[in-house]
């Protein structure tokens, strides 16, 4: 078993299937479902990734969905090196210093 009752988990569900989506949206969006992700404390006694489960969200709502992650965490960061940006500060400082010399 991947998760037991009370574990903090992330769930996923399909809100609108292809064909149920709003009219007047672009074709590429029409051809995929509307998906949802939420988090909560597992209400089932036990569950495995992929099971349909019930959770109690942080504010106390009950939501059903597919279990996709146990103890979900954030991994967004400061990205990779972007060398393209490196000239900006040096160039601006040089330009400002030039001004001082002329005065």
């Amino acid at each position: 078993m991947n998760a037991k009752k009370g574990d903090w988990v992330r769930i996923h569900k399909i809100v609108l299937k292809v064909g149920e989506r709003a009219p007047n949206i672009p074709e590429d969006t029409q051809s995929v479902p509307l998906e949802m992700w939420d988090k909560g404390f597992l209400l089932n006694d036990n569950a495995n990734i992929g099971d349909t489960v019930k959770v109690e969200t942080y504010i106390g709502r009950e939501v059903e969905g597919t279990l996709i992650e146990v103890n979900p965490y954030w991994d967004h960061d400061y990205g990779k090196a972007v060398p393209e940006l490196l000239y900006i500060g040096r160039q601006a400082r040089e330009l400002l210093e030039e001004g001082v010399k002329h005065e």
Partner: protein
């Protein structure tokens, strides 16, 4: 009894759900045609400026620092005609709790919800507003749900939006993340119905009135510091609320001569509801994808009548490319020592150019900054752009093609802005008023409303109506 929760059935219950969740009966301000009593709506459902100052003081919102950007001003002058280069100031709204001016908007909305006895608040937003609502809800002991459009169909999300989700959770909110599509509104309605929470919409009178303190504060600060009001205030524009509230604050301060300039990042060519284009953009707010549709039809928002009506207040509307905003964000950190943005720096990029058109003794103020953090920073946003096939180049920003390239200006002289034809934007708005209300003949009341709502005159509106072949009702 099970309610029919199909898309069509829920959308059909929209006005009923809205009325319950906002606590405003918008119908009493309606004329039945195009016109509605905007000022009465703002007065009767909002709060006075003094009341809002009190409400915001309770949660330490507002009274943010005002910086003079001396180095950026000097740099602008180097590339300006002789004698030109106005002084550039910035209001450090990142100092608000939750890190953006949106705390002002959320402060009044959450206060109002609590006063009316709601147990919780819900907001549909991928931006700073979610964090602001969550933070204010935490302060006032209310429950909070934030619904955000976050991922494409491959499960890939904009780092900036993911960071906002994290921040909302940090304040104890439940964050519901959705894939791309305007049906977010459907999920939002279902949640309002299920929870009975307050709809902390960005577009209610209390939300907009919350921003009025920003314009008012600016006027008071400049009068104290410089003995006069700023000449120009540049506002990053998306849904129009920031601009509307700020401009109304200036007017309430009696600052009638401060020119209001809207600035948006140009995302021309990218479709906002497209799954495949969702991650081709490197800005999730402050862009033309919101700015133009909300200016030409403000009532597309999540309330029947939006209190954010940018055309009513703006004097000029300019766009900048993505590369220029990233460039200014880097400059702000490098030569002013302020790491902020990026999206909030859209107005700053525009201000750099606007200042170059004005004499050196003039004052240009950028009215916001926003916090920066993991994901919400130029490096992760540019890293993400590269991963999505966008080329990062250094050159002439005018050559940037949204969704294909991001062009950083080669040097400060390359920064550029484009003026939108606001007469055209105003015409589009009038056309939408006629079309969306199925109008065949315009009343005197409608005519006056259209003049006020486009900050124009009778001659202009009559000309547009003539082009649309819509007659005006003769006075009885």
């Amino acid at each position: 009894m099970n309610k029919d929760n199909s898309f069509d059935a829920v959308m059909a219950r929209k006005s009923e759900i809205m009325k319950k969740s906002v606590g405003i009966d918008y119908s009493i301000f309606e004329s039945g045609n195009i016109a509605f009593d905007y000022e009465r709506m703002m007065k009767e459902t909002g709060y006075t400026l003094a009341e809002i100052e009190e409400i915001q003081k309770e949660t330490t919102v507002g009274n943010t620092p005002l910086y003079e950007l001396r180095n950026i001003t000097e740099l602008a002058r180097k590339f300006a005609p002789k004698g030109k280069g106005a002084r550039i100031f910035i209001k450090d709204e990142a100092s608000n709790p939750s890190g953006s001016f949106k705390a002002r908007r959320a402060a009044t909305a959450v206060y109002h919800a609590k006063r009316l006895g709601y147990k919780g608040v819900i907001a549909a937003t991928s931006g700073n507003y979610g964090a602001a609502v969550a933070s204010q809800a935490a302060m006032r002991g209310m429950k909070c749900i934030i619904v955000q459009e976050c991922y494409d169909s491959k499960g890939k999300g904009q780092p900036e939006i993911i960071e906002k989700a994290r921040k909302c959770e940090a304040y104890g909110a439940e964050v519901i993340q959705l894939s791309v599509g305007p049906e977010l509104f459907y999920s939002f309605l279902l949640l309002l119905e299920e929870t009975g929470f307050f709809n902390a919409s960005l577009y209610t009178p209390f939300g907009i009135a919350g921003v009025e303190t920003l314009g008012y504060e600016l006027s008071m600060e400049f009068r104290a510091k410089e003995g006069r009001d700023p000449d120009v205030c540049v506002v990053t524009n998306a849904g129009g609320g920031n601009l509307t509230g700020t401009a109304r604050g200036f007017i309430k301060a009696g600052a009638m001569d401060t020119q209001i300039v809207a600035a948006s990042v140009s995302l021309e060519g990218l479709h906002m509801a497209s799954d495949t284009q969702f991650n081709k953009k490197s800005f999730t707010t402050g862009h033309t994808g919101f700015g133009i549709p909300f200016a030409t039809w403000p009532d597309r928002s999540d309330v029947p009548r939006s209190a954010a009506r940018p055309l009513r207040y703006l004097d000029r509307y300019v766009t900048v490319n993505q590369g220029s905003v990233f460039y200014m964000t880097e400059l702000l950190a490098q030569i002013e020592g302020l790491e902020r943005g990026p999206a909030g720096n859209t107005a700053l990029a525009a201000a750099f150019k606007v200042a170059q058109e004005l004499d050196q003794d003039k004052i240009v103020v950028v009215q916001e900054t926003e916090y920066t953090g993991a994901g919400k920073h130029i490096m992760p946003q540019l890293t993400f752009a590269k991963e999505n096939g966008i080329k990062i180049l250094v050159g002439n920003p005018a050559d940037e093609v949204p969704g294909e390239t991001i062009i950083l200006p080669k040097d400060p002289s390359y920064l550029c802005i484009s003026d939108l034809d606001i007469e055209h934007t105003k015409k589009s708005y009038i056309r939408n008023c006629i079309k969306n209300n199925n109008i065949e003949i315009v009343s005197r009341e409608d005519l006056d409303f259209l003049i006020a709502d486009t900050k124009s005159d009778e001659k202009f509106v009559l000309k547009v109506l003539e082009e649309l072949e819509i007659p005006v009702k003769k006075e009885a």
